[in-house]
Symmetry: C2
Subunit: 346 residues, 2 copies
């Protein structure tokens, strides 16, 4: 691998299209461009009706016990699909244990959450709603809320035809998954993978070469440049406890296997330039520093400032175009809608 990239780097001055094709061939083995259509999801055919309902639910703060938080609060679609906080702030101003990952392109991850404990987005969507430090709600209370508004009931009936009592927690999660499946952000890197030589700057191509050559790609590959496998954080050298807090053993909490101590899902890197701060701990704000920490802890490489800058240029090319999202108009609450409770726990 290394020799190929060194060859490519050596030939950048010539910038021959043959060299560009070699880099693309290798990159195409490792990555895939975003699909041009909404991906299918398991056990949940994505329909326009589900997407529209899911968008409403995604934006509805009444999904939380307090009436303060919606999915959008921590997966803010104006700021890269996350909240740009170290860890999210939830019910009662509690702080979550880990940095909120972006919802953008998340449908293409193999599993959800930093430890992959949710197999898909419909499983994921149910987590924060019930987490005491996040929305602090219960499925029962959410179902009372949804059924209290005739417009929601009608939209659930349309989105889940033929079902008995479709206005339920599971279908809420399915509708949200359908909406989230639309949140794909095609990026310059996709254009380049698809054959547009001009889509990446020379610096970004150099960074891509390094990304491939150094071995970053071993964990961060595939359509989401990550998001598909589990790896120990600190494979070669554990970073300090400020970045890798001892108390959070990652996937170990899911599998209870010693091998999974400090194992996390490799972060999907699309839109990474928009989603500081970094790592599950959210402790690092500078992307170049994050790249250097990764190189050292995972690959045992001390990256020069110049090389790290090149890799950041490549990562910048993963910043995609947001789909146009028009705000939904939500139904008004009724006499039967549970009132927001800021002081209570479920």
């Amino acid at each position: 691998m290394r020799s190929l990239t060194i060859l490519l780097l050596a030939s950048t001055a010539l910038a021959t299209s043959a060299a560009a094709d070699d880099l693309r061939d290798y990159a195409t083995d490792m990555f895939q461009p975003l699909p041009s259509t909404i991906p299918a999801v398991a056990d949940n055919p994505v329909t326009d009706e589900k997407i529209e309902l899911g968008k409403m639910l995604f934006f509805d703060p009444r999904v939380s016990l307090s009436g303060v938080f919606s999915c959008y609060s921590c997966h803010n679609l104006t700021t890269g699909g996350d909240d740009n906080l170290e860890t999210s702030v939830g019910h009662g101003w509690q702080k979550g244990p880990r940095n909120a990952p972006t919802v953008l392109n998340a449908v293409l991850n193999e599993a959800q959450f930093w430890d992959g404990r949710a197999e898909d987005l419909k499983a994921q969507a149910k987590g924060p709603v019930q987490a005491g430090v996040e929305m602090a709600n219960t499925p029962e209370n959410v179902e009372v809320m949804l059924n209290s508004m005739p417009q929601y009931v009608s939209l659930f009936e349309t989105a889940f035809p033929g079902e008995d009592a479709p206005t339920n927690f599971d279908n809420m999660a399915k509708a949200i998954e359908a909406f989230e499946a639309t949140l794909l952000t095609p990026a310059p890197f996709d254009s380049w993978l698809n054959g547009d030589d001009t889509a990446l700057t020379a610096k970004a191509r150099e960074g891509l070469g390094l990304f491939l050559d150094l071995g970053c790609v071993s964990c961060h590959s595939g359509v989401n440049v990550g998001g598909h496998g589990y790896y120990p954080f600190g494979l070669i050298e554990k970073p300090g406890a400020d970045v890798l807090p001892e108390g959070d053993k990652g996937r170990f909490a899911v599998t209870e296997t010693v091998d999974d101590e400090y194992v996390f899902r490799a972060a999907p890197l699309r839109n990474v330039s928009l989603t500081a701060p970094y790592f599950h701990s959210g402790k690092v704000w500078d992307l170049k520093v994050a790249v250097q920490i990764m190189a050292e802890s995972q690959l045992g490489e001390e990256l020069s400032d110049e090389d790290a800058t090149s890799i950041v240029a490549f990562l910048d090319s993963l910043t995609g175009e947001m789909p146009e999202i028009t705000l939904p108009v939500l139904p008004a609450e009724t006499a039967d809608t549970p009132r927001p409770k800021q002081d209570a726990l479920p």
Copy 2:
């Protein structure tokens, strides 16, 4: 006045167009339909560039010290332009002193806040940003934040051409005002005022008749059906302390005039069906109950259930169509952007 309405009510069975015209003539004296163009605001020409920048700022949570709250948090454009909470939740999970009013059509109010202490929306916009119980930020910190992102600096330069150092707190407020000036929601009542007889149901027309006849219109008139004058809450009979807490003396805090004790700006009633809970205290969730409390405390009238229902039908006709709002894409923070602080006070 009363005789006219009684005449109209008596003639509803006939539903003659003459009677409809009489009711409309009277209503047109008291109310105005929404303008068809964006209203001019004082000392701040509304331009497309300001509107677009203002929309970004309205949605940007980095305007708050914690990075958690944006203008949108409490003036949620999916739920009637307010937050549907008794009083808003702000920095450190503190609760604000009064119910958040809707931002929809607010540009047409004579002044802003329940006590009218801000003369316009650009003055209003600066309040919550600095309030310790809301965004808890400082103008200085906001200016550092805005100037840290080249894209914002460029957008301010375009929106405020020819100004020296335009990326400042005052211009932030002006841009937000420009965006908010676009948030007009034409409603069936406007169609009816403009001559469409079919736009109001018979029940809504009956409610309008009562609204005029009973004297609700004495305070709730004009283009926003309120929002333009100050009146004592409990003119005839003070409601209980649950609805009118003794500690909040309203406009007295602004003018320090005894006559202004428990005086508040008459609530603008557009979209009132979407903006429960009601009153500055946010203690009443049922619009019909709110109408009955108003009738008793302000007019000394005990409204029958039927009459209150008719008035609610009229108020429902004030629910307007939201402008289509596409989410902005905000610039990514840089090394110079102040980091969110959830624990600090300014």
